[in-house]
């Protein structure tokens, strides 16, 4: 697992305790080199703001790891606000030259991204080599 600060881990643990709709977990990828943020549950209007805050706080660590992979395989529902978070992360990672991927995008997420017209912005990943 890439080096993730203790404070970030504590943030994730705290997030998981407080959030009933969304659960996060951190892993690492060797190829492509990246920090993997896995999200399970609902990325809706309620959970999106705090989700963004926590992932944004990990960008420095993602940069050190070589990239950021957002594992959305287990997202069961996403609202426009949730897609907005993915887009904001796209903007931020572009600014900071951090490779950014969406991993295993389920149909329910893909359709909302598509309706909003953001499909072409993201790099999609179907596999990565876990660390």
């Amino acid at each position: 697992m890439p080096i993730v600060s203790l404070s970030t881990r504590a943030l994730v643990e705290d997030f998981n305790k407080r959030s009933s709709a969304l659960e996060l977990n951190l892993t690492g990828s060797a190829d492509p080199p990246a920090l993997v943020v896995g999200a399970t549950g609902l990325l809706d209007t309620d959970s999106s703001p705090s989700f963004y805050v926590i992932v944004e706080s990990m960008l420095a660590e993602a940069q050190a790891a070589g990239g950021l992979i957002l594992d959305v395989e287990h997202i069961r529902y996403i609202s426009s606000a949730g897609v907005g978070v993915c887009m904001t992360l796209f903007v931020e990672t572009t600014k900071q030259d951090i490779p950014y991927f969406l991993y295993k995008v389920p149909a329910c997420v893909r359709s909302v991204i598509g309706v909003l017209g953001y499909s072409s912005y993201f790099s999609y990943l179907d596999a990565y080599k876990a660390e």
């Binding site: 209007t45 529902y77 426009s80 904001t88 572009t94 359709s111």
Partner: protein
Amino acid sequence: MACLDLAGPLGDELIWDFADEERNELAYGKLACGMARELGASAWAFVFADGGMNALAVSGRGSERADMRASAAPPRAGNWEGLLASLGIECRHVLALPLEIAGPLPQAVVLGRDDRPFDEVERQAAVALMRDIAPVATVRYRASRVQRVRDEAENELRTSEAELRTFFEESRDMIYTANGEDIVASINSAGIALLGQRDRFDIVGTPYSNFVLTPSDRGNFLERITKAGYVTDFEIILKKVGADPIFCLETAHAIKSPSGKILQIQGIVKDISERVSREREMWQLSVELADTNARLKETQMLMVQHEKLASIGQLAAGIAHEINNPLSFIVSNHSVLGQYMATFERAWKTAVASDPTLADRIEGELGLVELFAEVDSILRESNEGLSRIMNIVKNLKIFAHSGADSSMGSYDINNGIDSTLVVARNEIKYVADVELRLGDVPAIEAVGGEVNQVFLNILVNAAQAIAGQNRKERGRIVITTSQVDETVVCEISDDGPGVPEELRHRIFDPFFTTKGVGQGTGLGLSISYDIIVKKHGGSLMVDRSQAGGALFRIGLPIHHPPADDKEQRGNKADTDAGAIG
């Protein structure tokens, strides 16, 4: 005076109707008038109090009814003559008969006549009559009361229903109900319009999920409403016939059976497409801004690199100039020194010719003949070295000319290649031979130093690519120049590893490099592209050479169009080069 038909027996008229004052008056009048008729009274009155306890009366003589009169206070018991008098009915004898019905208001029938007083028999008959009438009147009064309450309730219900119907139908948001199986049971006009349907019955009876872009989202909604009994501001994307999907917020609650099973879902759905659209525009702007920032960063890097190259060019030109001055007097001195040596040798030979012993004596000790031969050789070698230094300095000056002056001028591409080869010689000479096939091409308008920089980038790349193969045999670089219409074309090909086809469209991108970390910035070819395509309106393409290596084809216009056309040409050239590259 209103005329009421008070003749005839008491019948159904004796029904109070609290919603119909006229009917009440008819009932009161009929009762009092009937009593008067039965008991031989000439005048009659039905006295009652309204809700404010004001006394009211319906009165008359015979079957004629007088106007309704009102007094500020209820009639005082016993003063019934006075009451009739206040109603304009003067009678000498009065009989008052309270009507004891279970109502909230006191009521009485007052009868009067002048010819004789009411005797006990009449009074008892009247009381008996009132006693008989009272239950009927009570029942009818109550029935009327119940009817009135019912009518009022029904009216309120109708009003309330109409208001709800208006609210349901006129709402700008979609309002719907669905049964326990999530089948739509009712929907308002806004909902029909929102879904782009024409008829209510295209929706009613259909599963709600049929109208949702991602049916699993509805499953999520149902999961929540089953658990909590309500859902607030749940975002859902609905399919609209003949239009783009619409983003909506739904707030709903469930009506459940005692066992917790959902019987009905009642929901309000608000179209938030405009809001989402505005958010999209905002994201779009953010993305464009980030993109612009990235481009700015790239441009800044390119500019810095350009500046560095220009500085190096200036530095080279400066050094060449500085070397040139001492070199001139060294060459001059060297030439003079050669002449002096030749003079000295001639003098020696003359001296030897006049005194042969001198030759034996000194030649034997010093070996002057050999010394003269060696000095001659040294001078020739030094001369050659100095010539080469002069050539290098001259070419450095030519190569770096644009470092000091970046404006367009007459430029001989063949000379540019020659001078660039001198500068690149050290990179190339150990790994490859260069074959020049320079054609007879005209001078072009160009910033010579910058074009030379492009040649240098491509030649050094070729040499490094060949060196990277670690092969035994030397590589080969071929440079050709020719004129094609109004363009001078220079092709530089090598027999190195070449550029893989899948990378060819990227090699002119800033920071793209196949070299190892620290070996290349990835800016050389990007800057070359910038110089040839954007600055000179030319073309720069990469292809596979006949020898299997890389082939770079540089096209430069001989003349440049006026400034207005130039921009358009630049854009066109940019597109062309991008497509081929």
